[in-house]
């Protein structure tokens, strides 16, 4: 579908020549060493077990925490009533807590700073909400209500169910898409599923790592930023998108190199492809990380957990594409040779 324009001065035989000299840097030093980025000499595939170990070191505690402790659930997953209020009088936490305790609504109080409080309680009817609001004004002082969320158990369960279903179906679709996209290389559909499977593994790596870290932050450390809600699900899905982007870029390069450099072993090709795409993956992630860091520092309280989730996930996504997905492809090839 791509018509070579008359601007191109390179033919297919020269394309091979572009790439071959770069894989044997020790025997054939590049004519201008400063033009060759130093990263090119890294042997990532050879040290793959180190990189797998680093990932497992973070993921396993996370999984243990998820299984043993679960998650700190936000209001839209847990159900209940949540008042976000602001007292201009800036009362102390104890004053607000006493007032809420007197209501007998199983309430909890979170301070957000500058007289702002979040009060969580059981699901309340509008009439009960009104009573609670009136009592708070009477006991604590005048307040403005910024937000009231009331989530019944039906909706809470449905939100969790739909979010999980969406993640599962999206993962399967990505596996299918990659298998289809990569089944044209030597090895056919089996090779396609190796590529798709390795990408899926990298994707699951990111999902579990992110969920694990949030479980640890929310339940083990007891930080409120580790709370998971619909926005967290959005963050996970975004991370999945970015991670797959990075993985596809590496794999696409593998596909291209498989076609043009027949003389190299599969491992060499994969390592070469990682080196050729690492700059792009890191630069893209870096720009996104800059934006997220800005949101994390300057953004509102509601967006902080979201920005943190994206930050962790994007770094993890880039790491997993470079250090897990591609090496995994090599391991899979060894276990299930195709050529």
């Amino acid at each position: 579908m791509w018509i070579v324009s008359d601007l191109s001065d390179v033919n297919a035989s020269q394309q091979t020549a572009d790439i071959v000299p770069e894989v044997k840097p020790k025997e054939q030093p590049a004519p201008q060493p400063q033009a060759e980025p130093r990263v090119r000499k890294l042997n990532i595939i050879g040290r793959r077990n180190v990189f797998f170990a680093i990932s497992l070191l973070i993921i396993i505690p996370g999984i243990i925490s998820m299984v043993a402790k679960g998650f700190l659930l936000g209001i839209d997953f847990a159900g209940g009533t949540e008042f976000t209020v602001h007292f201009p009088g800036q009362p102390s936490v104890a004053v607000v807590e006493n007032a809420v305790a007197a209501e007998n609504i199983n309430g909890s109080v979170i301070q957000t700073g500058g007289g702002g409080y979040i009060i969580r309680a059981l699901p309340l009817t509008p009439a009960q909400q009104k009573i609670v609001e009136d009592d708070l004004v009477r006991h604590v002082g005048p307040m403005t209500i910024q937000q009231v969320l009331e989530v019944g158990p039906t909706i809470a369960g449905e939100t969790i169910g739909r979010a999980l279903l969406a993640v599962v179906i999206a993962s399967l679709a990505i596996l299918g898409l990659l298998a289809w996209r990569f089944h044209n290389i030597p090895g056919g559909w089996r090779a396609g599923f190796q590529f798709g499977g390795a990408a899926l593994a990298a994707l699951l790596h990111d999902v579990f790592l992110l969920a694990g870290i949030f479980s640890i932050m929310g339940k083990v450390l007891g930080w409120r930023i580790g709370e998971i809600d619909s926005l967290f699900v959005t963050a996970v899905l975004t991370v999945v998108g970015f991670s797959v982007h990075d993985t596809i870029v590496v794999f696409d390069r593998v596909r291209e190199n498989l076609r043009v450099s027949q003389r190299l072993s599969f491992e060499q090709i994969v390592n070469l492809s990682i080196m050729q795409t690492a700059a792009r993956s890191i630069i893209t992630s870096f720009t996104v990380v800059l934006v997220l860091a800005a949101i994390l520092i300057a953004g509102g309280a509601t967006l902080k957990g979201f920005a943190l989730a994206l930050l962790i996930g994007i770094v993890s996504g880039t790491y997993s594409s470079i250090f897990n997905a591609a090496p995994l492809l090599v391991v899979w090839r060894r276990l299930q040779p195709l050529r």
Partner: protein, 501 residues
């Protein structure tokens, strides 16, 4: 690549840009010239195609207001659930209109037509639930003589409950009568209601027999059946007080009733038609000098006294207007900050190509904004996040091309040839990665939770626009710049060395 670099493609892109800028800009010029607020709906706002107005629709988390999900229960047997849901939506609409909300959103939902979602801007949850959930009770009354009554629809008579209520009404519809000239309201009763109505109309006719159209004596008060909403026994007991009756006999007033205190007297009257003959089939027609609007109002009024189902609240989200405004400010700031960081980085790192990519980003932002207005997409906090992230993906495609470009130059190509090879070879990766994102967006848009759906829609639109901006716009700009040899210098192109031409 000749396809992308051809003039027809360029003209289409330029056309898109002009259209986008028109959609984005025209409204603001109108707003400023006429001193209207810069956001939200303004009547007569251009571009305006037959009442279809273009502006950014803000979701409740940005505008402030109340969102409620209702579960419908106790569906009447033997009726289509979709119809019942539609009728319930109409009734809620009628009740909500009394609040004077700008663009209330009342939508059916649920896999089994068993949910209704209500979004009301600028209304507290308390007000909204009182208005929507208020159970207006429709009652049919007959007239009994009371000489002390001096005011109201039938002086000398006061109303009496008949046992016929809104529960006995299946539906009321406004339509044109058989002659095809006049608007009438058809009321159909349930089997139980039909029986009562039959007895009532027989008594009506017996009270003063004859044809009311020709015989004056046939038109007596006892031959009328009135319809009131929320009429109480206390109201009837106060019927001898002329001031009280004067107020109660006013047309039904939802706004007054939802803000009711024990001392206010609200209008509760709907209609007081005369019975022409005994009606035994359970289908009555109210005729008179109706206009289309007044007939429809009466039908909705009768229906509003009879929600066909029970409403059960599933969840309520109330966002204060200050929090909404703050969220808009924060996300705008985050977006602008993010965009400027990206632009700065691209220009410093990639020089001229980075600058061109930044120009393409401006095209991208204008196009996406225009699409949001035309579709229209209701922007929420999650939606804005999707938009900001799609900027990141737009840049990603450019980074892929530019990194490839540097590589091709290093491999010894001339700059124009390297640009061409870079776009061509980066394409499969760009295509596959964006396809995977689009697939994810479609899946989330259909099965994700509602908050995530807004995110999926904006991200999806953003990805499509970013493909156009990064592939077509950037590449064309590069090709045009490449014709000027002074701009082709390696230092401007951000590459280290180049094979001499």
């Amino acid at each position: 690549m000749q396809l992308v670099l051809s003039w027809p493609v360029r003209l289409i892109v330029i056309g898109l840009l002009v259209f986008s800028l028109f959609v984005d800009g025209a409204g603001y010029i109108y707003r400023i010239a006429n001193h209207y607020p810069l956001t939200g709906n303004v009547s007569g706002l251009p571009p305006n195609f037959g009442g279809w107005q273009l502006y950014i629709h803000r979701g409740l988390d940005l505008a402030g207001g109340t969102h409620i999900d209702y579960q419908l229960t106790n569906f009447p047997a033997g009726q289509s659930r979709a119809d019942v849901q539609q009728r319930t939506i109409q009734v809620i609409n009628k009740r909500v209109n009394a609040l004077g909300v700008n663009e209330p959103q009342i939508r059916g939902a649920g896999s089994n037509n068993d949910r209704i979602t209500v979004d009301l801007a600028g209304v507290t949850a308390d007000q909204a639930q009182k208005t929507i959930g208020a159970v207006s009770k429709l009652v049919y009354t007959k007239w009994v003589p009371d000489a002390k009554v001096t005011n109201g629809p039938e002086p000398g008579y006061k109303p009496a409950f008949t046992g016929l209520t809104g529960d006995d009404i299946q539906s009321a519809t406004a339509q044109i009568d058989q002659s095809g000239l006049a608007w009438v309201v058809n009321v159909s009763f349930t089997q139980h209601g039909a029986g009562i109505f039959d007895t009532l109309t027989r008594e009506n006719v017996a009270a003063c027999p004859g044809d009311p159209n020709t015989t004056a004596t046939a038109n007596c008060a006892q031959r009328h059946l009135a319809i009131f909403l929320d009429l109480t026994q206390k109201d009837i007991d106060s019927w001898e007080d002329p001031a009280y009756v004067g107020k109660v006999s006013q047309p039904y007033d939802t706004a007054c009733l939802s803000a009711q205190t024990p001392n206010t007297i609200c209008g509760k009257f709907l209609t007081d038609p005369i019975t022409l003959q005994e009606i035994s089939g359970g289908n009555a027609t109210i005729s008179g000098s109706f206009t289309e609007q007044s007939a429809k109002d009466l039908a909705t009024g009768i229906n509003s006294g009879s929600l066909p189902v029970d409403l059960q609240v599933l969840d309520v989200i109330q966002v204060g207007s200050t929090l909404g405004a703050e969220s808009v400010k924060l996300s705008l700031a985050a977006g602008l900050l993010g965009l400027s960081i990206v632009v700065l980085f691209m220009i410093i790192y990639y020089r001229v190509p980075g600058l061109l990519a930044s120009l393409a980003l401006l095209f991208y932002a204008a196009a996406v904004l225009a699409v949001f207005k035309v579709v229209p997409v209701t922007l929420t906090l999650a939606g804005i996040t999707g938009f900001i992230l799609s900027v990141g993906m737009a840049v990603d495609a450019n980074v892929l091309i530019f990194e490839r470009f540097k590589e091709e130059v290093r491999a010894g190509r001339t700059i124009p040839a390297a640009v061409d090879a870079a776009v061509r070879r980066a394409w499969p990766a760009i295509r596959d990665s964006n396809t995977s994102t689009l697939i994810t967006c479609v899946i989330l848009g259909f099965i994700g939770p509602p908050q995530v759906q807004g995110f999926a829609i904006t991200l999806g639109i953003g990805v499509v626009a970013s493909l156009v901006s990064s592939i077509v716009v950037t590449h064309n700009l590069l090709a045009i710049v490449m014709t000027g040899s002074s701009l082709r210098r390696p230092v401007l192109m951000g590459v280290d060395r180049v094979r001499p031409l």
